[in-house]
Symmetry: C2
Subunit: 203 residues, 2 copies
DNA sequence: AATCGACGTTATCCATTGTTAAGAAATTCA
DNA sequence: TGAATTTCTTAACAATGGATAACGTCGATT
């Protein structure tokens, strides 16, 4: 019962997307760039980008949930989750043109706006604000990364889970538990135990 | 026997520095920018930037070793080490102008080239290549971060230590062990045990 | 030389995780 | 609906990390 990667369904070309939070001036010239965008529907567990491939697309989640994962000696671990309106790309490989270190996969059946690399580059070329937006986005991601990283160094798995419940309950509500476990850096078994302890001990 | 932060010794203005890997065209116009650079000597354990302060400088290690650290409920943990020719800044706060989440400290007595924020901004303004270099630098850091992050999710402390021995032996050779421990996210006691196990078991 | 402080090691005790295996519960799909 | 798959839970065992305390070592200072 595997989902073949070919069974994608390209839907009609989208309206000016809110990908990248809206680029000033894009809407007016939308016809020139429309062709670079596609709206595609993926089933759950579809592979949008496979580790080792050269990325050629940027994704924006319109509906559903995606995750990024890396394969570390056989074990797939999830590094991030993405929900509605989040932008996803193997950002550093996309730029460098080298094989991606990460995979991008769907968690739920999802509708995704796909921006071709050529389109991305055209936008970057034609809209001067894009570069600053990109920098800004990188800086923000950086900060979030640093914060997350720090939490891994200082918090116990139990504390991380509790923190996650507060900071992003969507993950716990919508994502299968074993993905959450790998996101927390622990085994599904251990997460199950932690949840039990929380249930009984403190609630 | 505290090192007062005032006991710094500003040395003569440097030659065109290799900070940021050399900016095309800077050397020719060096006189205009010289004033923004200082070379300063710090004793070990000096505080170059304190958590909560608004960062106003970028540092480049000329000799010695710096580290970045965050304070997580009373416990200082080290997030990165920097050696000769590394560039150090509280990158996201530097940009946003908000209080720094991290501290920057010297590990060894160090000689550091300090670039004032005004100078940094002047360079960014006057040399178009700077923005691309900055983007490139960010992308690379990003990749490194992602890789490190992944290693924390997948490796045991013991494996992380072994990996560190391979990937950056300078850290283990030059940095006091308890800093390494906090860098690995474990206690000094635990690191000591791990080292012992490695010594006896495999070696 | 004696002292002080910083750093590293070792031991003990307790809590937690990983591993493996088995079974229950929930979902998917035919 | 019923079967197959996936996901979650629980148990038992071994290994490891955190906390604490005691001790040793080294270097700097007086």
């Amino acid at each position: 019962m595997k989902h073949s990667r070919q069974s994608l369904r390209a839907l009609r070309v989208v309206d000016p997307p809110n990908i990248f939070g809206g680029i000033p001036g894009l809407e007016a010239r939308w016809e020139d760039y429309r062709e670079f965008f596609r709206r595609i529907e993926f089933p759950a567990k579809a592979v949008l980008l496979r580790e080792g491939e050269i990325p050629s697309k940027v994704f924006s989640v319109e509906k559903g949930c995606l995750r990024t994962a890396i394969d570390r000696n056989g074990k797939a671990i999830t590094t991030q989750f993405f929900f509605e309106n989040d932008v996803v790309a193997s950002i550093e490989s996309f730029r460098s043109g080298r094989p991606s270190q990460i995979s991008i996969l769907s968690v739920e059946p999802s509708i995704v706006v796909v921006l071709q690399k050529r389109g991305f580059e055209a936008l970057l070329r034609d809209f001067p604000d894009m570069k600053d937006m990109l920098l800004e986005l990188l800086f923000r991601r950086f900060e979030a990364y640093a914060r997350l990283f720090a939490s891994y160094l200082t918090l116990t798995p139990r504390q991380r889970y509790l923190a996650l419940m507060k900071s992003d309950p969507r993950i716990i509500e919508r994502v299968p538990q074993h993905y959450v476990a790998s996101y927390l850096g622990i085994t599904p078994v251990s997460l199950s135990r932690i949840r039990k302890r929380i249930r009984s001990r403190s609630t």
